[in-house]
Symmetry: C2
Subunit: 139 residues, 2 copies
Amino acid sequence: MKDWWGGRDLTWMLPKLFLVHFCNTSFVMEKDDELIAFLIGFLSPSRANEGYIHFAGVHPDFRGMGIGEALYDRFFGICKQNGRNIIRACTSPVNKASVDFHKKIGFEISNGNAEINGIQVTLDYNKPNDPKVLFEIEV
Amino acid sequence: MKDWWGGRDLTWMLPKLFLVHFCNTSFVMEKDDELIAFLIGFLSPSRANEGYIHFAGVHPDFRGMGIGEALYDRFFGICKQNGRNIIRACTSPVNKASVDFHKKIGFEISNGNAEINGIQVTLDYNKPNDPKVLFEIEV
């Protein structure tokens, strides 16, 4: 997975527990037995009307083909079937492609506590110096 | 929290999503407004009869007083109320205190794919070179 993300090691984003306990709301897409896209999401245990997308990605060779949108659509469908009409996700403001993707498919940016490049962000989200853009959509 | 864990920064164990979406099955214990213990757990969305304890800790000054056991007991109670009779947790084999704690309160060690110091472990659990001892208990 390192190659997908500019060499960054994002293994910590996918501890085993996500794959074990969120597997009925997470999917992978394969071509010729190779992983080309994935989405890890879950129905919030604490917020009865919400779903949350933790992590999703499309291999660089397969971007721009609507695969990300298809994965999100499938997750939205599972959420709706389970009475979840608010879906949340978050991304780093430096990840412009991710910000644009979420806006394009209809997510709104939640109000934060600061602005970076004109975008509302929540500072120190997971740890100090870790601003995040928070997204929400009603489905 | 760094002081609790021999200087290791375990912020990555507690991304915000755990606090937002698992807050009805997670607790903190405070004394004079200071955090002295916590447990982050959730009812597995994918495994209808299971609960999972992701992360728990007791401040070194307050260990040996039964606080950890009390937090686990409370989580077990919530699990039982919600029809979850299998609870799982995991720890690193080098964390002997954690291994001993789980055994003491009745957890069994699940079969793994290797043995370290006579204890069954699952190798490369979250990433390469990351063996884990997997625990389970019926409540």
